[in-house]
């Protein structure tokens, strides 16, 4: 049994696939925006000195980090309606991706804050800066460059995890490929094209992030890291 690649047909379905790619971008972008904010909340929750807050937060973060995104998606999608919350597939997907990657980003933020040398904090204390001034002017400008590579990697990570959303019916690229395949019984072209589209987008992004990382390291005076 041998199936040959049909070029004219692949060009026929190409526009449909590209439109669906826009949905993938939308899912990744919105998911990332939510994750970035949720990550700040988780990070703050872990850094407070109140034990009542930081111990549960840490456990929740651990739990979300060590369970599969796929199961979490189904959990939110099927359990939320039982509590009277009927959410669309899109909303469920965005909540789950936001929570899941929020935990990862909180670790990135935490690492970045801890990456700022301790003497900087001590100097702020010695100069009698207020806490908000300290964060705004001294700590965050130094922590942000450290966080850039990690944040970029998770952006690519979210992008590569968006095909999972097809399982609960979010109409993105992989979902479209599946439905084209189910409709025409030809899976070779749609699936291969999905792979190629992902490769074409994620490789330059990853390359760009590596360049950015090198630039950041150089700007911080860490050459050759």
């Amino acid at each position: 049994m041998y199936v040959e690649w049909r070029w004219e047909w692949s060009f026929e379905i190409l526009p449909q696939m590209l439109w669906a790619t826009l949905n993938t971008f939308l899912a990744a972008g919105v998911g990332y925006a939510i994750a970035a904010i949720v990550g700040i909340l988780f990070m703050l929750g872990q850094r407070t000195s109140y034990k009542i807050i930081n111990i549960p937060t840490r456990e929740i973060v651990e739990f979300i980090r060590s369970t599969p995104l796929l199961v979490q998606l189904f959990f939110v999608y099927f359990v939320a309606p039982q509590f009277g919350l009927t959410l669309s597939a899109w909303v469920c997907a965005m909540i789950t991706i936001g929570l899941h990657y929020g935990t990862y980003l909180s670790e990135v933020y935490r690492g970045a804050l801890e990456g700022v040398p301790k003497t900087q904090w001590e100097a702020c204390r010695a100069l009698n800066f207020s806490t908000s001034y300290n964060y705004r002017k001294i700590i965050l400008p130094q922590a942000f460059p450290i966080a850039i590579p990690g944040m970029g990697n998770y952006l690519v990570g979210i992008f590569k995890d968006t095909p999972l959303l097809a399982t609960i019916g979010v109409a993105e690229l992989f979902f479209t490929a599946n439905s084209i395949g189910a409709y025409t019984y030809r899976y070779l072209e749609p699936y291969t094209m999905v792979g190629v589209i992902f490769l074409v987008i994620s490789l330059p992004t990853a390359f760009g992030i590596r360049r950015l990382e090198a630039a950041v390291n150089k700007a911080q005076g860490k050459v050759n890291v």
């Binding site: 060590s66 369970t67 599969p68 959990f75 039982q82 899976y187 699936y191 792979g195």
Partner: protein
């Protein structure tokens, strides 16, 4: 239905499914470790072609999603006359994908071995293979085990995807019981808890123990 009666009624099903997940995980880890060693060393080769092959492999697998690779192997390869059973397809996809990530870890580990060790081995007239095998490789374990532990947890999470290619693992059973009974909170909740226990209380402690062991072997740990 109460959560405990749910566990009593459907526990056995979940247990056998968890065993399937564990099996997939073990096979994939073996394949991934093998691939990451081979490609990690190939990546460091001075030969342009060997290095190019490894780089292409790694970038390809890291650039596309695991789920797409798995579907491609399971649904598209049969069209070329190569039908694979679901278990083999799942293990291949997982092992090859995480092997690509592991290769980078492995490469970084080799590069992190101090230069003096390489020079010392050369000075003692070790052959290239022997230098790698006896001097360099034994020293990389304490370096690569912490990132490898992260990858192992990611791999365990990745095994949930094999449910989509009809393998009866934890996720599959959770979905099935959800469809039959509509006890969604219980079935998916139990699956989540089992994954959490496997990752947090079995896999991670085991890898921490390996880390301590490896550190002690090269004389770096607390004895």
């Amino acid at each position: 239905m109460n959560f405990f009666t749910f566990i009593i009624e459907y526990g056995p099903k979940f247990t056998s499914a968890a065993i399937v997940t564990a099996q997939v995980f073990c096979y994939s880890v073996i394949l991934a470790v093998f691939i990451s060693m081979v490609f990690g060393i190939m990546r460091l080769s001075k030969n342009f072609f060997i290095q190019a092959i490894a780089t292409i492999y790694i970038e390809f697998y890291r650039g596309t999603s695991l789920i797409i690779q798995m579907f491609w192997i399971y649904y598209v390869l049969p069209l070329f006359g190569l039908p694979l059973p679901a278990l083999l397809a799942g293990v291949l996809a997982l092992g090859m994908n995480f092997g690509a990530y592991g290769a980078e870890v492995f490469r970084a580990g080799i590069l992190a071995v101090p230069k003096g060790q390489w020079e010392g081995a050369t000075a003692l007239n070790f052959s290239k293979i022997k230098r790698m095998q006896r001097i360099i490789i034994p020293q990389i374990y304490p370096i690569i085990l912490p990132p490898a532990a992260n990858l192992a947890v990611e791999l365990l999470k990745g095994t949930a995807l094999v449910s989509l290619i009809t393998l009866v693992d934890l996720m599959f059973v959770a979905k099935q019981i959800n469809m039959m009974t509509w006890f969604s909170a219980q079935s998916f909740g139990l699956a989540l808890i089992i994954y959490f226990i496997m990752a947090r209380f079995i896999l991670v402690p085991f890898l921490r123990w390996l880390e301590v062991l490896a550190a002690r072997k090269v004389g770096r740990g607390k004895v």
